[in-house]
Symmetry: C2
DNA sequence: CTGGTTCGAGGGAGCGCTCCCTGACAGGGA
DNA sequence: TCCCTGTCAGGGAGCGCTCCCTCGAACCAG
C-alpha cells in the first residue's frame, strides 16, 4: 500500500512540493509549463492527496454528517422517508462536493458516538433528520459550534426546515367536513415528536373552529398502531364517519381494520393520511393524503446547511403542504 | 473552535504527551496515579482526540465505506432492502467500533467520487451493496488493495455473501408444481443483475428438469414492471395458472394486474415472490414468497469484512433460502 | 543602466498525534 | 556494595499536507 506522496510527485516533476500543492489545489499563480509537468507526474504515479494530512493542515474536512434518528426496534414507520431523505440529501451534498457520512442515532450509545465523532473534527457540519422532540443530541451538537441544521423542528437553537404540519392537518380536516363528514376522528403519532404534536394541534384547532368535537386515539406512526387505534375508535364511537391519520402508514393500518370490521371506504368511513408515501398509491382504495414532499424537504435542508457554510442566514424554512385527493376520502 | 490538544492535557496534568497518549489509548504500562490525573484533565478540558492527526500518524481510520448502488431515477425497487441493509450493517459496524461512511454510487460521477474517496485513505475497508453485475466499481476498488466485500455477488475478485438465488427459485417453482400448477410463468428482474440472472436460471432449470415449458417475461424489479409483465403474460398465454416473480415488488404489481383482469388469486392464478419484504404481508391476498433475510445478509457481509481485517478468510458465503407460504400460492 | 516593482517558485514551520528510543529509577543477585 | 535487569515516563522524529515567507528573476520606468 505504498501510496505516492506530494513529495514523490514533486521529485518526479522536478519542482517543489509547494508548486505541486498549488497545481493540485488549482491556484492560479502557476506557470503553464509547471502545471503540465506536475499533472503528468500525478497521472503517472496515480497520486491522490492524503485526506487526513490535508485535514490536519487546513482544519477543513469537506465532509458533512447526516444523522438519522434510529427508531426503537419494530418502529419502522419512517422508513419510506428514511430512504427518500437519505438519497436526496446525499445526492445534493455530493453535488456540492461534500462527503456524506451517514450516522444512525438510536441508542444512548450511538448518540454518544455521534457526538464524539463530530467532536473529533471529522466533519464541517451536521444535518439532523427527524429526531424526536425530547432528544438531547441537537443541543449537544449545537454546543460544538459548527454549522448544524435539522430536517424537522427539534431544538429551538437549531435552524430547521419543516413541513407545514398545522396547515396540512387543517387542510385534511376541512376537506372531510366539506364532504359532509360530521364525526371526524384522528389517530395521532407519538406525541414526543413535534410533527405528531403539530398535526394533532392542527386537527383539534380546525375541529374547534368549526364547532366539532375532537375524537382522538393515540398511535405511534406504525402500521399496526394505526390498525389498533382504529379498532379503539370504532369501539368508542361506532358512528364515526371519517378518520384523519397523522401519517400514511397508520392510515393504511386503519384501512385494514375498517375492512375487517365491514366498513366500506370511503362510503361509510373516509380516511385521510399524511406524507404521501409511495405505498399510498397502492392501497385499496388509493389513499387521499397530505402531500409533504420528502425530496423537496431534503433539498431545502441541505440548502440551508450549505448556506450556513457561506455565512448565510439560519432562519427556519416552512414547506407548504397540499392535499392529494384519491379515493379514500 | 479552540479545541484542546493532547499537549494541553499533558500540561494541565503535569505529565508528558506520551503519557497522555498512553492513557487515551489504554496502554497498560502506565501508573494508576498518572492515569487518574490524566483522565481528570481530559474531563476538565473536554478533550477529544483529533481524528485526522491520529489517522495521519497511525495510517488507520477506523472507518468503513458502505457503498450502495443508486439505481436510475424511478427504479426504487430495492428501497425496502436499502433501508434494512443500511440500518443493520451500520449497527453492526458501529458495534465493532467502525465508523460507517455511507456512499451512493449512481452516476459515473459518483462512482469516481467513491473511488477517489477510498484512494484518499478515508477508510480501512469497503462494503459494497447490490451493485449491478456489469459494474466497474468493484474491480476498481479491488485494485486499491484494502479489504473489500460485497453484499451480493458482483466481481469474481471480490469476496461476497449472497442469497441462494438458484435454490430459492427452485423452491418456488417446485412448490407451484406440487400444487398441481402446470403453466408456470416467470417475471424476471433486470438481467444485468446477477441476482436476476440466477433467479431466472433457477426457474428455467427447475422447469426443464420437471418437463415443463418456460414462459418468461422481462421486468426490472419495480412494481410497475411487474404489472406490465403480467399484462404481457396474460396476453401471450391466457391460460397460465401460476407466476413466479423474481422479487416481491413485481409480484405485487402482478397481483394488481391479475385483479384488474378479473383473475382470482390463488384460485385462478397462483403468485409467488422473492425477498419477503414487509409489504408482502399486507397484499391481498398475503404473498407467498421466498424468504431471503436482509438483516442476516447484512450481518454476514459485515462479519466477512471484519474477518478480513483480522486476516480471516475471504471465501464467499451463501445464505440458505426458504419458502414462506401465505395465501397467494 | 539602475532602482523599484511585480510575479511566481522554493523553503520550511507547523497541524495534533503516535511510537520508537532514551534514560531514570527501583529492586534483586552476586 | 555494585551492577544488571526490568519497568515506566519523557523526548522527539516523523505522518503528508498547506501556507506564509523569502528570494530570485523579469520587466518597466526614469
Amino acid at each position: 500500500m505504498n501510496r505516492p506522496t506530494l513529495e514523490a510527485v514533486a521529485a518526479r516533476a522536478g519542482v517543489s512540493k509547494s508548486s505541486v500543492s498549488r497545481v493540485i489545489n488549482g491556484a492560479t499563480t502557476v506557470a503553464p509549463s509547471i502545471r503540465e509537468v506536475v499533472l503528468r507526474a500525478v497521472r503517472e504515479l496515480g497520486y491522490v492527496p492524503h485526506a487526513a494530512a490535508r485535514n490536519l493542515a487546513t482544519r477543513r474536512t469537506n465532509a458533512v454528517a447526516l444523522v438519522v434518528s434510529d427508531p426503537p426496534k419494530g418502529l419502522v414507520s419512517d422508513d419510506p422517508m428514511f430512504s427518500a431523505v437519505v438519497r436526496q440529501a446525499s445526492r445534493k451534498l455530493e453535488a456540492a462536493g461534500k462527503q456524506v457520512v451517514l450516522m444512525l442515532a438510536g441508542s444512548e450509545d450511538s448518540r454518544a458516538r455521534v457526538a464524539q465523532y463530530v467532536a473529533a473534527g471529522h466533519v464541517d457540519g451536521v444535518m439532523l433528520v427527524s429526531m424526536h422532540g425530547a432528544d438531547s443530541l441537537p443541543a449537544t451538537l449545537a454546543r460544538k459550534g459548527l454549522p448544524l441544521v435539522s430536517l424537522g423542528r427539534t431544538n429551538p437553537a437549531v435552524p430547521y426546515v419543516d413541513n407545514d404540519n398545522l396547515g396540512g392537518a387543517d387542510l385534511a380536516v376541512r376537506h372531510l367536513l366539506r364532504q359532509g363528514r360530521r364525526r371526524v376522528a384522528t389517530i395521532t403519532g407519538p406525541l414526543d415528536m413535534i410533527a405528531a404534536q403539530e398535526r394533532l394541534t392542527g386537527y383539534t384547532t380546525a375541529m374547534r373552529e368549526t364547532g366539532h368535537r375532537s375524537i382522538v386515539s393515540l398511535g405511534d406512526f406504525t402500521r399496526v398502531s394505526g390498525a389498533d387505534a382504529m379498532r379503539q375508535l370504532l369501539q368508542d364511537d361506532p358512528g364515526l364517519d371519517a378518520v384523519f391519520a397523522a401519517n400514511d402508514l397508520m392510515a393504511i393500518g386503519a384501512l385494514r381494520t375498517l375492512r375487517e370490521s365491514g366498513r366500506r371506504v370511503p362510503d361509510d368511513v373516509a380516511v385521510i393520511g399524511f406524507d404521501d408515501i409511495e405505498a399510498a398509491l397502492y392501497t385499496t382504495p388509493p389513499l387521499t393524503t397530505i402531500h409533504s414532499p420528502m425530496t423537496d424537504w431534503a433539498t431545502a435542508t441541505v440548502d440551508l446547511l450549505l448556506g450556513l457554510f457561506e455565512g448565510g442566514p439560519s432562519d427556519p424554512v416552512l414547506l407548504p403542504a397540499d392535499l392529494v385527493v384519491r379515493t379514500s376520502a
